[in-house]
Assembly symmetry: C2
Homo-oligomer: 150 residues x 2
């Protein structure tokens, strides 16, 4: 396998990103890979926001992973910022290759560079493999994640 590059996502990557979002037990019913227009509008909003870092992992000119890192300034912990990782997806061909680790390590390093004191994420209760993965990377399952659909 060729070298891996992690770089900001661009419009030309959207089709590959949305295919990964849809190729997932939870994502299959929530996405519309045949209509990219809502995703393009969202990408423009993300790109304009300096606290948003949507990246893709590229190998041999192919998008094989994605992750969204959000920097959240705040008052608590003496005015420190934290970061939140969302939308981690790895192409089916790359699972088990260590790419997930590379992407999360990128997010941790970027968070340090942005002076965050904390990196946080939530993972669906059913994704037990993901839970073990995050614990191996040093994360602690210290919180309950609550969601309310609007």
């Amino acid at each position: 396998m060729g070298d891996l590059e992690i770089r900001p996502a661009a419009a030309a990557d959207l089709s590959a990103i949305v295919a990964m979002l849809a190729d997932d037990p939870l994502g299959a019913q929530r996405e519309s890979p045949d209509d990219l227009s809502p995703y393009l509008a969202a990408l423009q909003r993300l790109t304009a926001d300096p606290n948003q870092h949507l990246v893709v992992a590229v190998r041999d000119d192919r998008v094989v992973g994605t992750l969204q890192l959000t920097v959240i300034p705040g008052l608590s912990r003496r005015g420190s910022a934290r970061s939140i990782v969302e939308g981690v997806r790895i192409h089916a061909d790359e699972r088990g290759s260590g790419l997930g680790t590379r992407l999360i390590e990128w997010a941790i390093e970027e968070s340090r560079g942005q002076n965050c004191q904390l990196v946080q994420l939530t993972s669906d209760n059913t994704r037990t493999d993901a839970h073990r993965f995050y614990e191996r990377l040093g994360f602690t399952a210290s919180h309950v994640g609550f969601k309310l659909q609007l």
Copy 2:
């Protein structure tokens, strides 16, 4: 008790907000109520960011609660935004008054107004009273919340 107002936080509210952040079993060791300068810098950063909504609840000219709502644009769910609630604090004198409910209901309404499809938050595993509170408000404890200190 007088009427309650929920409004954006201002510099003059910082002392009261930080006192609430510090008046908490988890917050006591993490805050510096005697030195507000790092909080003022963070407030300026929050105020300049259109996706950040740091509010205070005020009754009889007294700050009695606070909450931070962050709007996070994203690609998943057809390019929908979500919101994250952080830093919910209620003054000790107001606990049990329904103020927590009022603040979370404000956050839900603001999230709808910002076209968010989802409101999410994490609560420390030890805060079991808070867990019941969020479930009563319609939230589902569907996720595990992972944190990594940097």
